[in-house]
């Protein structure tokens, strides 16, 4: 009986962190912090997206009653645009430091992860974000993909995935 209950709860948790929830949170983050409103909305991608090598990958871990990680991947132009908008540097001839681009991407995944954390069973803790560049796998080890949403932002690809650790990987 308890196996059935555990299984049911796990399915419920997976549903809570599904594509619709991730889309809603990501849209809120974009609308509030990238200040673009209807000018540059984050749109669901209806066709498969391709993130070229060297793209930005930011991840943040949630550990506790629910353990897993949230991964945000952005094409380089999208990451640089995010940093420009957040830093209010609209002039594209003015360079934005790589560190600031990484910082902006890290803050975006921090906001997405923090809001997802509020939906999983407590207690749980949020790590600091980790930002990487290159051809990096979104997740490794024993994890289950519970959400995987692709977006188009001014024609640049953005992907958000949520990976739940399976018990044997914790």
């Amino acid at each position: 009986m308890s196996l059935h209950l555990d299984s049911g709860i796990a399915h419920l948790e997976a549903a809570l962190l599904g594509d619709d929830v991730v889309t809603s949170i990501a849209t809120d983050v974009w609308d509030c912090f990238l200040g673009t409103g209807t000018e540059l909305p984050l749109l669901p991608a209806f066709e498969p997206i391709t993130l070229e090598a060297g793209h930005y990958l930011a991840m943040i871990a949630i550990t506790g009653a629910w353990t897993g990680q949230v991964v945000l991947e952005l094409a380089v132009p999208a990451a640089e645009r995010a940093a420009r908008l957040m830093l209010a540097v609209p002039d594209e001839s003015q360079p934005v430091r790589d560190a600031d681009v990484a910082d902006a991407v890290g803050e975006l995944v921090n906001m997405i992860g923090g809001n997802l954390k509020g939906l999983v069973p407590a207690p749980s803790a949020l790590s600091l974000p980790l930002v990487l560049r290159g051809d990096v796998a979104a997740s490794s080890g024993r994890t289950v993909l519970t959400a995987d949403v692709s977006f188009s932002w001014a024609d640049d690809p953005v992907r958000i995935s949520v990976w739940e650790a399976t018990p044997s990987s914790e």
């Binding site: 809120d28 983050v29 609308d31 509030c32 912090f33 940093a83 957040m86 830093l87 209010a88 560190a99 600031d100 910082d103 902006a104 890290g106 803050e107 921090n110 906001m111 992860g113 923090g114 809001n115 954390k117 509020g118 407590a122 207690p123 949020l126 790590s127 600091l128």
Partner: protein, 127 residues
């Protein structure tokens, strides 16, 4: 009016600092709780407001709030948590430790101004 923006993200400090400067604040910045304590100690008088992120290296926001509340000379410093921590328990912990307000990221700029107005920290020229 003066504010201390405490966040490990330079980008987020810039975003909040821009909002506060637009309201007429003089803005100081710190990258973690320990830097913020040192900044406060270096000031002759504390600012009216500190915005405090929760998850930061070295000293997190909750520890910063607890430290500030042990210092009587900083009793008039208003503390607003500005964080992604959205759980009710976290909010309660922050308020119990001595934070005055709690704003969950992401937020539209008007929410930030509304919180300042609730705290009586919106300059008269703007209110």
């Amino acid at each position: 009016m003066r504010a201390l923006v405490i966040d490990d993200s330079r980008v987020m400090r810039t975003v909040l600092g821009r909002e506060l400067r637009a309201l007429g604040y003089e803005v100081h910045e710190a990258g973690d709780g320990q830097q913020a304590i040192e900044a406060l100690e270096s000031m002759e008088t504390p600012p009216e407001l500190a915005t405090v992120d929760w998850n930061m290296p070295v000293m997190d926001g909750l520890s910063f709030v607890q430290t500030v509340r042990k210092r009587p000379e900083w009793r008039n410093l208003t503390l607003m948590m500005v964080t992604t921590e959205s759980e009710h328990d976290q909010l309660v912990r922050a308020l119990a430790a001595g934070a005055h307000e709690y704003l969950i990221k992401p937020f539209p700029p008007e929410s930030f101004r509304d919180k300042l107005a609730l705290l009586g920290l919106l300059p008269r020229s703007v209110a």
